[in-house]
Amino acid sequence: MSIPIALERDDSVAEAAKARRRKQLSGWFYLLCVAIAMLSVVVLVVLLVSISVQGSSSLSGDLLTNSHSELQPEQAGMWSAILGTLFICGVCALAALPLGIGTAVFLEEFKPQRPELRWLRRVIPLGERNWEHICTLLYKGTRWMHGFVQLNISNLAGVPSIVYGLLGLSLFVYMFNAFGQITVNESAGWEWGGVQHYYQVLSLERGQVVLIPQGERTETTLTVDEPMMALLPSGEEVELALWTPGTPKPKSKELRQRTVRAGAKGGRYSRKDWYYFRLPFGRSFLAAGLTLALVILPVVIIASQEALRSVPPSMREASLGLGATTWQTTRNVCLPAAIPGIMTGAILSMGRAIGEAAPILVILGAAIAKNSGPKHLMDDAVTMPVLIYNWAGRQQEVYQELAAAAIIVLLVTLLLINSLAIYLRHRLSQN
């Protein structure tokens, strides 16, 4: 039996129409895909063009050599911010890379095997079957730990960076108040060298001071009422002379330099060497760098793990087959083969660290008025993203332009770093 011819014709017409519609739909979808995919290119171009237009007028030598200025915004610059970023990212790299690569090696190369307990087996006689049982339990335990660490790392990667900032604030800045309650404007905690505490007293020579070594740390001021030993700013040790108001002042300059008015008061002054170290770290660039290290640690670990995973197992097996231990295999075979990938991941994560502002804002605060890079280990710093955040949040047009110019500098830095990553990947993977 066959379908009537009229029905069949209608059917084929309907089928053809349906097929055409489906094809049309597919075509439209393809166009939509192209349009949407190109949208991201458009966004990037708009972003780069608008920022270049806004910032080009402020892009000058002053921007690179000067520091932030409230009074003369036209001459404000970002030199201290560049230095600060450099220092903080250096600390961050020194802390995060060894830790991250170590963790990745542990997770990828030292997967749990049946624990070797031959030594314990000889010492503690428990019977073969009991030992078998204990070994199985231990194996399961270590495997569970491995999985737990892995899960933990993927969770850490999703924690907002500002929460890391708060962790750094509690951990590095205040050390959970383990060194006494933190009070504002007071350097609490333990100091380990690199610092001398003085009282600073005005001498009779105009604009000159003498430094009197501080005895008791709790005394905030000192009243000079008897001759004592003091230091001139040049470092020379001298005996102080007192001058009572009403009597004639000493004539010679040398004497005036080491003479103070009787009853003069001196405030505290600390001279810090570059290796000045104290606990807790306070709002220092060291604390900021370590906090950033926490932020990028999961990124470094995951990138290094991928790099190690891409080393072919045959290479590993060949080394193990020659009788090398796992660590020898890792050091001589896996790590050299994975280095391009690890390096790329490390550089990309450093790029992320350079652009990160939120944790640094929490650790160092939003202050940007600083003329130089960090002078000692516990000094604070300004970074480029924080400077940009501060400038961009201001109403004045001139700061808006400065922010755009600073963004150009930041983006160029990032571009250079990323091209370094691409170059290294290319170079190392060829060898």
Partner: protein
């Protein structure tokens, strides 16, 4: 018979010293891994102990915190007048996040489909680096972009209906930020779908659209959903864009044209303010941070469960 050079030059053999060295190295590496666990423990410890100071304060009640619709921690002159209800901050965060997701999820997924199914090699070579550059742009730059371009643009097109600082412009900027992430994660999931499925679909007479939408996307759904959840938690935790572009007034409305302070935005505002260590306002920081952490952590965990449980594996 001579040995291969590799064997004579290097001592590959396991000696007692090598075994000892191995144990030492393993313990060092294990302590590195332990450090990551300690970081999580540190975060939880810090949030719990510090927000404990907040919740035990006489000016704060947990019930009000979770249900109150006023947040005036920084605006109130006296601590007695300050209201600590999380809803304005939460709704601000959600407003920004929803707008961001409306942009990032569809655009990211469609771009991923295009890259994985249709794109020629030349288009890929333009599109992939573009997305990588967008992914590498610091968030503070996108925040500035929101102030410089997006917000004036919105005001221009709407005839001034938007505030200078508003949820929409911040949301759009956050969406741009999340787009590369959604795109690359979804593309990975789409790439993992085997060719045979696509060929089967084409063999049955499907159009490219039908193959992509009815076969490939459902097959990669678990990966795509976990990418969406990751983007969601990233958008919730995003800080610098909202600190710059979303405004500083905590409002509990649904109006996307209004200012909206987010949880992260409040944390930044609090850090910038003059409130000293130890005040209730200061500790409110940790109450907010705790809420933020719980939400993002929950999203990540759900994402992992989705990926693990609903993953379809093909040989």
């Amino acid at each position: 018979m001579s040995q291969p050079a590799a064997l004579t030059n290097r001592r590959f053999k396991s000696t007692d010293r090598a075994v000892l060295a191995e144990r030492a190295v393993v313990s060092v590496l294990a302590s590195c891994a332990l450090a990551t666990v300690l970081i999580t423990a540190g975060i939880i410890l810090m949030l719990v102990t510090q927000s404990w100071h907040f919740f035990e304060s006489e000016y704060v009640s947990p019930g009000e915190f979770f249900s109150g619709t006023q947040w005036t921690a920084l605006q109130a002159k006296e601590i007695e007048d300050a209201r600590f209800g999380i809803w304005p901050l939460l709704s601000g965060t959600l407003r920004v996040t929803v707008i961001a997701m409306l942009i990032a999820l569809p655009l990211g997924l469609v771009t991923a489909i295009y890259l994985s199914e249709f794109a020629s090699k030349r288009v890929r070579s333009i599109l992939k680096p573009t997305l990588e550059i967008i992914a590498g742009i610091p968030t503070v730059v996108l925040g500035y972009f929101a102030i410089l371009v997006i917000s004036p643009g919105l005001q221009f097109f709407s005839g001034g209906a938007f505030d200078t600082f508003n949820a929409t412009s911040a949301g759009i900027a956050v969406g741009i930020l999340c787009l590369p992430m959604v795109c690359s994660l979804s593309e990975d999931a789409l790439q993992a779908v085997p060719r045979s499925l696509r060929e089967g679909a084409y063999g049955l007479g499907c159009t490219p659209f039908e193959t992509a939408v009815k076969v490939v996307v459902p097959a990669a759904l678990s990966g795509i959903i976990s990418a969406f959840l990751l983007a969601f938690s990233r958008a919730i935790g995003e800080t610098m864009v909202v600190a710059l572009a979303a405004g500083t007034r905590a409002t509990a409305t649904l109006d996307p044209r209004d200012q909206s302070q987010t949880m992260t935005g409040f944390i930044v505002e609090m850090i910038k303010s003059e409130n000293e260590f130890g005040t209730v306002q200061y500790y409110s920081l940790y109450g907010v941070a705790m809420t933020l952490f719980v939400i993002t952590f929950g999203m990540t965990v759900v994402g992992q469960i989705v990926r693990r449980r609903y993953r379809e594996s093909y040989q």
